[in-house]
């Protein structure tokens, strides 16, 4: 089985979010980057398939050279090869088009992406890749088992879950549940050494068409200070008369 895991290079979840002086771009100063958490759950599930059922794992990212350490980390925890599509990740549609080229050229059986990146929260790339490539698609996937070409998957829905049957080739939008937090791996020294010599291909694609353009960003206005109350009665009173939510 050939698995492609799409890796988004995102600010660590504890990062302070700031923008440049004219508010047109994210300010990367002092920001630590990580594998997007939803992608990391997917990558860890891919490693499980590799170890238990046999698979090769390629990881792919759309972005500039600054994203390579994130790809190297994926190699260090067990992916076999990495591909960096050398173009700025402008909008979800253009990223999906670039990834679709890699998916089709590589004839992958399974494409795993996170259900959304924690930076721009688009949540659209996995579904778009599936549709462009004509692959089956399961979003918010919290369980995945593969036997030959047949697949059983679990999808998280509002208020419950849905058990699904589908076939390869398949794209999933993954999240926590595919594996547990405790299953996530930390690269060890041997993995880090091996990752240095594993292939990292840099690929140019035809410049795909963006459908949207972000003009500027804004941070929320500072919040008013909290109103401290002494007891339940006062709280109920304020929620009823002032906030009008009960």
């Amino acid at each position: 089985m050939k698995i492609l895991v799409c890796i988004s290079h995102v600010p660590d979840t504890t990062s302070k979010i700031n923008f440049n002086a004219d508010q047109t771009a994210f300010d990367t100063a002092g920001v630590q980057y990580v594998i997007n958490p939803n992608d990391e759950f997917g990558l860890t599930r891919a490693l499980w398939f590799k170890e238990k059922q046999g698979a090769t794992i390629h990881v792919v990212n759309v972005g500039g050279p600054e994203t390579e350490p994130t790809l190297r980390k994926a190699l260090a925890i067990g992916a076999d090869e990495a591909i960096r599509i050398n173009q700025p990740a402008t909008d979800g549609y253009s990223v999906a088009q670039a990834l679709a080229i890699v998916v089709q050229e590589g004839q992958y059986d399974l494409v795993i992406a996170g259900r959304e990146s924690i930076d721009y929260n688009g949540g659209m790339v996995p579904g778009m890749v599936a549709k462009i490539c004509g692959y089956a698609f399961v979003n918010t996937c919290i369980g995945l088992d593969i036997d030959g070409a047949s697949v059983t998957a679990v999808r998280e829905i509002d208020g419950g879950k849905e058990n699904l049957k589908t076939t390869l080739p398949l794209v999933i939008g993954g999240q926590k549940g595919l594996v547990e937090e405790s299953d996530l791996r930390i690269p060890n020294m041997r993995g880090i050494m091996q990752a240095r010599t594993k292939p990292l291909h840099v690929k140019q694609t035809e410049h795909p068409k963006a459908m949207s353009q972000t003009l500027r960003y804004e941070k929320p206005a500072p919040k008013q200070a909290v109103t401290l109350v002494e007891n339940a009665e006062q709280l109920i009173n304020l929620l009823h008369h002032e906030a009008k939510v009960i």
Partner: protein, 320 residues
């Protein structure tokens, strides 16, 4: 060119989030001098979608759309958008709509912006405000495609009342089979879902153990609320993953969010930022949650919560 709304329903019931979606579409349609077409996949005859602002209801109902299937719904909406010449499609933030919308975007060659939080800033080109960085910032994005899909954040606009009379028209769509088949559904029918809840009662490690959740569930029941929890609580297995709210869990956009024994890590606060009113109950006055909350009680949950349940019962009895 009209605005098409994917008007989701569950067993023929159009939830508040769908009503809100229609009202949002109506406000846009009024600006663009066009009309709102609510596309439905279940029998709409028991609902009056005109009262939320729809001008027309397009009934796409057919046996293969009886249960939600993202591929088939996307196919049906593609045909509906083409047949009506719609230039804008509005979808919700439900799990099903988020699943379906990217497929629809590819087949319509449409730009898609989710997490939209306000009416457009401009109409030519269409420019919208949407939340990014898990509600830690807002982006202003212009669509450059001839068809646009907007995903409205829950509770971002509200339901508005109209007295439009929306006639129902049947639209035949041709659907092939899907590559994904639902084999079974596991859904709690008697619980309030986080996605729909007006009030969410959430608890953290301050509760000390899963055996202490009885009072949280009781408080939720009194308030008609959904229960939720912090990440450590779900990682420890005290509560199911489906209750984890925060950056890597579920987002919450309720009217009222009550955090009990949750310190307020940056990732948790990001996930609940869209809630309108936030209340914190915590023994530690230095807990970061107090900086994000509207109301706070510095106190022990094991004393405050039972008292709150009792006082809420009395309040309900008086205001019933």
């Amino acid at each position: 060119m009209p605005i098409l709304v994917y008007a989701e329903s569950d067993q023929g019931i159009f939830k508040k989030s769908t009503q809100e979606l229609i009202s949002f579409a109506r406000a846009i349609a009024d600006q663009m001098n066009t009309e709102v077409i609510a596309a439905v996949t279940q029998d709409p005859s028991n609902a009056n979608l005109g009262q939320y602002g729809a001008h027309k209801v397009l009934n796409l109902e057919q046996p293969s759309l009886g249960e939600f299937n993202a591929e088939l719904v996307a196919d049906a909406l593609t045909q509906a958008a083409r047949a009506t010449g719609s230039s804008t499609v509005i979808v919700s933030s439900s799990a099903n709509s988020r699943y379906m919308a990217p497929l629809l975007a590819v087949s319509l060659e449409a730009g898609y912006v989710p997490n939209v939080v306000a009416l457009p800033q401009s109409y030519t080109p269409l420019t919208v405000a949407h939340n990014v960085f898990t509600n830690k910032a807002t982006a202003f994005t212009s669509l450059q495609s001839s068809i646009s899909i907007l995903g409205l954040s829950k509770n971002a606009y509200g339901v508005h009342q109209y007295d439009t009379n929306a006639a129902i028209t049947k639209q035949e769509v041709t659907l092939t089979s899907s590559s994904v088949e639902v084999t079974s559904l596991d859904k709690a029918s008697n619980k309030v879902m986080i996605a729909d809840a007006e009030v969410v009662v959430s608890a953290g490690r301050g509760l000390k153990g899963p055996e202490n959740w009885g009072m949280i569930e009781e408080l939720a029941e009194v308030m008609g609320a959904a229960t939720a929890c912090s990440k450590p609580v779900s990682d420890l297995g005290w509560r199911p993953h489906s209750e984890h709210v925060g950056q890597t869990g579920k987002p919450v956009a309720s009217n009222l969010y009550i955090a009990i024994g949750i310190s307020g890590a940056i990732q948790h606060l990001a996930g609940i930022n869209s809630s309108k009113v936030k209340v914190v109950i915590n023994t530690d006055p230095e807990a970061p949650f107090f900086k994000a909350a509207d109301y706070g009680i510095v106190g022990d949950a094991f004393e405050v919560v039972p008292d709150l349940i009792q006082k809420l019962r009395e309040f309900k009895a008086q205001n019933a």
